[in-house]
Symmetry: C2
Subunit: 100 residues, 2 copies
Amino acid sequence: MPQCDAALSQAFALLGKRWNGMILGSLMTGPAGFSEIRRALETISDSVLSDRLSELAAAGLVVREVDEGPPVAVRYHLAESGVALVPVLRDLMDWARENL
Amino acid sequence: MPQCDAALSQAFALLGKRWNGMILGSLMTGPAGFSEIRRALETISDSVLSDRLSELAAAGLVVREVDEGPPVAVRYHLAESGVALVPVLRDLMDWARENL
């Protein structure tokens, strides 16, 4: 009998939401500022990127760090659970390159 | 500089679409009929499941097999590229259990 795995459902509810997986992917190579992430994702709007970063921070995958400056600078980096996802994202990329 | 990986973008466009990841997950344990998959996913409608299975078959991840019978029986199973995704889905489940 096929089963619906609750953990997989949770993972796709978060990562499957448009942009979330790509935002995490864009932070795989290191911390980045808001506009760097926006440029990497090309067609995302400021308000959607802002919402998504808040959501990923609330889920504990991304950390928003503020350098009080001056000038004030905000950067984002993967939290520990986001870093733990990196090898899975790499395997997913390899799979996509070979199979899609 | 953060980058947007094209393969990751493709993977999330397909797997991130609501239900697609869960449908593949439901076939990880073996072939299943339409109504078995529908029951496993609980809240999906017949028409959406039918659309998604067609999409996953067109993408080459799922195979629709018809046993001419009688009675005619339709079953679905993971194609080779779907099977190749199984270890990635398992890692994603493990990650979700530990981090979400």
